[in-house]
């Protein structure tokens, strides 16, 4: 005995036929609500099954896709929509290799995009939703397509929040989420936003700033620090979906964008408070024109870096002279330098002082004492002991990475 099932294929705007629902048509309105700005329409039945298939399952839905070679059981319609949308976004980026997919939240502020390219569970979605609650248009909370000329393209997917919201969140934000809660289960919920609140698929907007985010429960009010452009580049190099592009290709694409793009760190306790505070700062302070002090120290403190690997440090009495090894590529950005030692190799990031050491060793072979003397004569604010300790450690790192080599006397 066999049972008959209904299979319907759907075409996605700007992608084409890419998903088949089998006995799962009740999922369609949920997907539509989760990505209201991205058209998914029935299409002619495909002889060759689309890459994404969803079956109704006794315990929910069963999904298969290129990224899920073993299939995946999903127990709720909202959860299934989320998984399907992840694969639809992947399909879009495979279909449009001219764009880079960024893993970030993105909101439009004064006709420019603020993007938050942080890692998972950093609060991207909450901050994105908080900007929506504060009246700003959302371009996405997970994926943004980036053109070669620095425009972000919205996919049309609504932000998705982890539920329940923490009680400590601002009452205004709680109310906004309650008023706009779309498809949800007990763990996650999509926000139902209109066209003014959520950019439709294909809408473009130039990038205006990179905003790295850090939650800190101890803060009484948000803090904003201007970072090096290298901080933004470093984050974008990690938070992207361009799995088949080399780091070198990516850095060459990102570099021209990052040269003129301000990068900030915002630290906050409450996302809604941060969004409204930042919006006021932007309006009053010319934030994008350099109204915030630069943090030239970078985000990783030296003591932490040193603690990580003290054992590597070069002996203090080492008298060998060192020079920079030939490297494939150097990319200066702001005060910093990004280096790729060999074709296809990993990227190294040198801050302002490491870059100074790099330039000195490129100029002539020096021993560590000569380096220390030069830095002590040029810079102020550090003891010889601490500079010596730092240079020993930096040289050790450079040696272990093969970026410097000893010179025979």
């Amino acid at each position: 005995m066999s049972t008959t099932s209904i299979a319907v294929d759907y075409a996605l705007e700007n992608v084409g036929p890419c998903i088949r629902l089998i006995d799962a048509e009740q999922l369609l309105p949920v997907i539509h609500q989760a990505m209201p700005g991205w058209r998914l329409t029935p299409c002619e039945f495909q002889q060759s099954a689309p890459s994404i298939c969803v079956w109704r399952h006794a315990n929910g839905y069963w999904q298969e896709a290129p990224a899920l070679p073993g299939g995946m059981l999903l127990d709720t319609p909202a959860g299934t929509a989320c998984s399907v949308i992840a694969d639809l976004a992947g399909a879009y980026l495979r279909y449009h290799p001219e764009h880079i997919g960024l893993h970030c939240g993105a909101v439009e502020v004064n006709q420019q995009l603020f993007i938050f390219p942080n890692s998972h569970r950093s609060g991207k979605s909450t901050l994105t939703a908080a900007f929506a609650a504060a009246g700003y248009r959302v371009f996405g909370d997970d994926v943004l397509a980036l053109t070669s000329c620095g425009e972000g393209i919205a996919l049309g997917v609504a932000p998705r929040l982890r539920l329940p919201l923490p009680e400590a969140f601002a009452p205004e934000f709680h109310q906004f989420v309650a008023d706009h809660l779309g498809p949800h289960d007990d763990r996650y919920g999509y926000l139902a936003l209109n066209e003014q609140q959520l950019a439709s698929h294909g809408v473009r907007c130039p990038l205006g700033a990179v905003l790295l985010i850090e939650r800190d429960e101890s803060l009484s009010e948000p803090q904003l620090v201007r970072l090096q452009p290298g901080d933004g580049l470093w984050q974008l190099l990690q938070q992207n979906f361009a799995e088949h592009e080399s780091d070198q290709a990516l850095i060459e694409r990102f570099l021209p964008l990052l040269k003129d793009l301000p990068c900030f760190l915002i630290r906050y306790r409450d996302a809604y408070e941060a969004a409204t505070w930042l919006a006021a700062e932007i309006d009053s302070d010319g934030l994008l024109d350099g109204g915030v002090g630069m943090n030239s120290c970078g985000r990783q403190t030296v003591p932490e870096a040193l603690k990580q690997n003290q054992a590597l440090a070069l002996a203090a009495n080492d008298t060998r002279r060192w020079q920079i090894s030939p490297v494939a590529h150097e990319f200066p950005l702001g005060e910093e330098l990004f280096v790729i030692a060999k074709e296809g190799g990993e990227i190294h990031r040198l801050n302002v002082t490491s870059r100074a050491v790099w330039a000195l060793l490129q100029h002539e072979a020096l021993c560590q004492d000569e380096l220390i003397d030069t830095l002590m004569a040029f810079f102020v604010g550090a003891s010889r002991q601490s500079v010596k300790r730092d240079i020993c450690y930096l040289l050790s790192q450079l040696i272990s990475l093969g970026l410097v080599q000893p010179v025979a006397d």
């Binding site: 893993h103 990690q238 002082t353 050491v357």
Partner: protein, 119 residues
Amino acid sequence: MSNEADSLLNKRRSRRQVLASLGLGAAALYVAPTLSSMGQAEAREHHHSRSRYSRSSYSRPRYSRRHSYSRPSHSRHSHSRPHYSKPSHSRPYYARPQRSRWDGDAVIEIRISRLLPRW
């Protein structure tokens, strides 16, 4: 002044010029040198990644370990796909095999790693 002292002064001058060519002003505030490598950064950020080259992952639903999951006893590759028959009307139908792809007796847990959060 001896040649040796001249030479030392010239070396110091030339090294200052190297630093000045980077846009650094003399008497700039010392900042401890740092060197980060993308390999290290990726390992920190993406310990859930499926492959070394996976830079980031799309958000997927999160599951708790207390749930149990089952999938068809037959593997995806050995299981013959349902045969889709072209219907006379526009809506396509297919005949599901006698045993559906998830009605198997055996229960194979989906590896938890596949269900870990990617968000």
